[in-house]
């Protein structure tokens, strides 16, 4: 068959299965299908109630695959069993409103449905449920082809349900498309598509494509993006601020630095000036002391000079040596002269002695006279010499000193000396005849004596001249004090030399002092200059004192404190900004958010598009299903009409759909009526007929699930009950039907109807 070839999915056997990579292993369609294939058509065999409503530890059954009638009086648990079956298959009823949830006191609802294969009773399957949260346990495939809504509408028939067919469109679609030649029923596909659509608007976290979730995520990201954008803006304006405060910071820092420097300079200057002032003070004191010393030294020198005599005091070494040499020369000459004088005196004395001896020997008459004369001559000569010796210097001295008395005294003495000498000479030259010879001899001796005398006189003159020359020379040499004495002159010279040495020492000392004074003065000048320079450098007036400095310092300190405060504030802000910006330069949160935002936008766009696609798919499928329904409906509605006619014994002959999709019922005259105009019984018969027709037409929907009918025939009259019973028997040929009733006559009707056909009926009493 073509469709078999085309539609049966052919499972390729890939030698690479990417799912092996994936950690999670899902049940593959192959296994699911395999299980499905293994599952034979089954029917409900037993209901095993553990706890449910009033029932506890109760097993009901066995049921047969066809029609089963469960008979029991009121409160025997018929409705409870129907609710139990529903609960096991699709979940216990949750407490809502005042519905009966069949929850027993002190126990959890629990129980099982036991199914058996239609063609093999030994193959059984159990569907068990305890807690809703755990779901149905065991052979859940039994109910995979049906949902609760379909079950309740189509399989759980009560008098109330039969008044209408809720969700008729869906239900008919579900049933009419069953067995339409597809692997999956279009109704299932439609349900799947609707489920998909629901996922697009779901708020469940698992719904990845949910537009609601994606929109929420987008909005959340947008909000975070805005925050990040604000942060980026803030950083940019901070960068701006940083840029703006940078010059201020730099200038403040520079100001601060210069203030620091000024304070330092000022402090240094102050210290320097203090030092300079201290040094100046001590130097001034020293200068004073030096001046005193200098004065003292000068006075001492002057004193010495005065004591020594200017000439001697100023005499140089060579002059001294020349003077000494002269003194020596004078000394030598004087010694020669004296020697000559002494020799002349000796010669004269000898000549005189010789003469006198001659005279005495020649004239021994008065020896005494001769002696006397000799004594006279001697005394005269002695006196003469004495007078000359005293008189000449006296005269010289007197003339030199300008003293007339001394000079005249000297002159008188020389005159007397000369007179005495002349007298002596007269005495001498008084001739003695007798003594001519002797006299000659005496004359001879006298001549010798005179000659020696002359020599002596010359020597004496020479000696006197010598003395004078010495005196004059000494005077000339500034040795007046020596008063002609060479020895004294030497002593004087020695003294003068010592004095000169002393003076030289004094001069040296004085020079040293004056040099020191110069130094001190130079240093003082330098200090003064330094002070001015320091003051200038410190920006203070040249004559600034400590107080000025202190004042200035305190001013500077004050302005520094103020600057420091401002600088600190600016620096702190600068630091904050720099740090913030440095951190900001590595922040990529904004960029990541943007990317995330775009991915969400993309996913949202894709999901939106996917949603649109699914909507289109839904529309296509819905329309295709309607079209298919329209095609299938005639058969279903014809069948429903036949069943209705069967039940109403031909009073109502047909069922159709109006153009607007509403169910219409045709009477025996083929006139269409709205169902709401029908009596309650007829209405129930219409919908029963419609349901049975649909249930028969779609054996694939809820194939294993029994149809539960809860006393649905009570509103039917006897004739119609019979018809309905026949219709139910027809259904029971296709599906298992479990009919609950408390009316024996209903049981009878069903039994009768079954006996007319070959269909079996199983009756179970509660």
């Amino acid at each position: 068959m073509t469709e078999e070839r085309i539609l049966r999915p052919r499972h390729a056997a890939p030698d690479f299965d990417p799912r092996e990579i994936a950690a999670e292993s899902q049940p593959t369609p192959e296994t699911s299908e395999a299980r499905h294939d293994q599952a034979p058509a089954s029917y409900l065999q037993y209901m095993r109630v553990e706890h449910f409503g009033a029932l506890s530890c109760r097993t009901v059954g066995p049921f047969a695959p066809g029609l089963n009638v469960v008979f029991g009086p009121n409160e025997a648990g018929k409705s409870t069993l129907a609710a139990f079956t529903d609960g096991v298959m699709f979940g216990w009823e949750e407490a809502r409103g005042n519905r009966n949830t069949y929850k027993p006191a002190g126990a959890n609802r629990a129980g099982s449905l036991l199914f058996a294969a239609k063609d093999d009773d030994s193959a059984t399957f159990e569907l068990h449920r305890e807690r809703n949260a755990d779901g149905a346990q065991g052979s859940t495939f039994l109910v995979e082809d049906i949902d609760r809504a379909t079950y309740r509408t189509m399989f759980w028939l009560t008098s109330d349900e039969l008044r209408s067919l809720n969700g008729a469109g869906d239900m008919t679609a579900r049933f009419l498309t069953a067995g339409s030649g597809t692997e999956t029923s279009p109704a299932h596909a439609l349900a799947a598509i609707r489920e998909r659509l629901a996922r697009f608007t779901s708020r469940a976290a698992s719904a990845k494509e949910s537009l609601v979730n994606l929109t929420a995520e987008r909005d959340q990201l947008r909000a975070r993006l805005n925050e990040a954008a604000e942060r980026a803006d803030a950083l940019r304006s901070q960068a701006r601020e940083l840029h703006d405060i940078e010059p201020q910071r730099r200038s403040l820092n520079a100001q601060l630095e210069s203030t620091h420097a000024a304070i330092e300079a000022l402090s240094a200057a102050r210290a320097g000036i203090d030092k300079i002032d201290a040094e100046t003070m001590s130097l001034e004191a020293e200068k004073e002391r030096l001046h005193d010393e200098e004065r003292r030294t000068v006075a001492q020198r002057r004193m010495r000079m005065r004591a020594t005599g200017t000439q001697l005091a100023r005499m140089s070494g060579s002059e001294d040596r020349a003077v000494r040499e002269k003194v020596e020369v004078l000394g030598e000459r004087k010694a020669k002269v004296m020697h000559a004088l002494e020799t002349a005196q000796d010669a004269h004395r000898n000549a005189t002695a010789a003469y006198e001896a001659l005279v005495e020997s020649a004239d021994n008459r008065p020896r005494e006279a001769r002696g006397h004369r000799l004594l006279q001559i001697g005394v005269s000569a002695l006196l003469f010499a004495l007078l000359i010796v005293v008189g000449v210097p006296l005269f010289v001295q007197g003339r030199n000193a300008g003293s007339l008395s001394y000079a005249s005294l000297g002159l008188v003495m020389v005159f007397f000396g000369l007179v005495l000498a002349a007298a002596a000479l007269v005495l001498l030259f008084k001739p003695d005849r007798r003594d001519e010879e002797r006299k000659d001899r005496i004359d001879e001796a006298m001549r010798a004596m005179i000659q020696s005398k002359k020599t002596l006189e010359a020597c004496e003159r020479e000696a006197a001249e010598m003395e004078e020359a010495i005196t004059a020379n000494l005077e000339k040499m500034g040795l007046e004090e020596a008063a002609g004495s060479l020895r004294r002159a030497r002593v004087l010279l020695d003294e003068a030399k010592d004095a000169r040495a002393e003076m030289a020492l004094d001069r040296q000392r004085q020079q040293a002092v004056s040099m020191r004074v110069d130094e001190v003065e130079t240093r003082l000048e330098e200090l003064a200059r330094q002070r001015i320079a320091l003051c200038e450098r410190a920006g203070a007036p040249a004559d600034a004192d400590d107080e000025t400095f202190d004042q200035k310092l305190s001013e500077l300190n004050l302005s520094r404190a103020e600057l420091l405060e401002r600088t600190e504030a600016v620096n702190m802000r600068w630091g904050e900004l720099s740090q913030e910006l440095a951190g900001g330069a590595d922040e990529h949160e904004f960029d990541r958010l943007k990317t995330s935002y775009q991915t969400v936008l993309t996913r949202l766009r894709e999901a939106t598009r996917s949603f649109a696609k699914t909507l289109i798919a839904q529309r296509m499928l819905e329309e295709a299903v309607s079209a298919w329904e329209a095609q299938s409906q005639p058969a279903v509605f014809a069948e429903a009409g036949r069943l209705l006619a069967l039940m109403t014994r031909g009073r109502w002959t047909g069922v159709t759909l109006s153009d607007d999709g509403e169910v219409r019922v045709l009477d025996d005259a083929r006139i269409a009526r709205e169902p709401r105009l029908l009596s309650l019984g007829t209405c129930q018969q219409l919908y029963l007929a419609l349901r049975i027709s649909l249930l028969i037409s779609a054996p694939g929907v809820g194939a294993n699930v029994p149809v539960m009918a809860d006393d649905i025939l009570v509103n039917f009259d006897a004739a119609r009950r019979e018809g309905a019973a026949r219709a139910l028997l027809e259904l029971a040929r296709v599906r298992q039907v479990i009919f609950f009733t408390c009316h024996e006559e209903v049981l009878d009707v069903l039994s009768r109807a079954s006996s007319k056909t070959s269909d079996g009926i199983r009756s179970i009493a509660l």
Binding site: H11, R19, D591
Partner: protein, 424 residues
Amino acid sequence: MARKLTFLHAADLHIGAPFRGMRESAPRWADQLTGAITDAYDRLISTAISREVDFVVIAGDIFDSARSSYADYRRFFSGLERLEEASIPVYLCLGNHDPYSTWEQDFFALPANATVFDAVAPSFALYERDGEPLCVLGGRSFLNNVWPNDTSIADGITRANAIAALGEKAARAPFAVGVLHTGLTFDPHKAPCDPVVLQSAGMSYWALGHIHKLWVDSEDDPRIAYSGCIQGRDIREVGRRGVGIVTLEEGKPNRYEFVSTASIAWQQLMVDVGDCANVSAVVDKVMRAQFDVNGHMRCDKMISRIALCGETPLHELLSQPGVVDDVRAALIESYPAFYVDALTDATTRPVDREALIEENLFPGSFLRTAREQRACPDELAAYVQREFLERNMVLPSEALEGLDDLAAEAENLVLDMLVRGEAR
């Protein structure tokens, strides 16, 4: 001696722009993605420095309208500072994404080597090399996001006006370059202008920006050129992206040399896997297709969106949940430089639709209905619109772009469901 000028022409940096069209950001790629544009920008700067160009021209859209992060903002100015260190002037024209008005706050950060063309009126600059005037530049920035229709952005940007504005010295410059962010004839909404007007302005070369792709008016002697963007940032901006090294020489035709700057290349691929026998063959084929297309780019890293197409029996397997994801994971695993952002399965099962339509079964009925609906796209669109409205949702216009493709996908979706057990 013939004078010669070399400069770098870039445009459409879009710093701060996020990548658009990615479905998810893989952690391994997230950082590369966030840094891709700035990395490309750094490459631009490095190229300018290594090639020792005379100057750099950026023809608009430096920043994206999506505000840039501070990190990116800093990167841009650091780049300019690098050029300043290398003594390379930069001439900036501002585009519709970063008009003059948005820059007011940021001019302070520009280094001295950067010149921004004025927005109120054309402005001019003179480039001198060793004191010799070499090139006059003229340009005009966007003032706001929108350029008024009644004026042309190119008005007044002529060599004559440049000389008038810059003085006699400028007349000695042998070259003139115009810089504009314009839609030219490509985008009538963004300051379009007539190429003829540009050609008659006396410029040696027009450095343009806006269209994101490389375009030159003449391969042999380009006079008007778009450098394209430095990094594709949209899944549609596929292929190579970069800047131009432009050489102007007296007596010779202009030369334009493309230099790739992109960090990541984008690619959209349709891979026909009809001839693949199994899933590993699909992986191999897609891998080959990726290498083939990457061979033509000058960028190692590639992000692609790949659609598997073709009629294949593998469709059944591929459409099972997780299989395509696994294939994608295998592709991402096998070559780290390629990232597959999305792998979509557009394969179809080998179905003879015509035969199906002929059959009197539900799938045929469905295909007939689907075709009828696809024949009336307006009704389809109205229906979707209505459904969105009913759910209080806004239907973005792009959601219905290629409506027939969408309808075809919808048709395939249903057909797949009908002939397969997915609905269960």
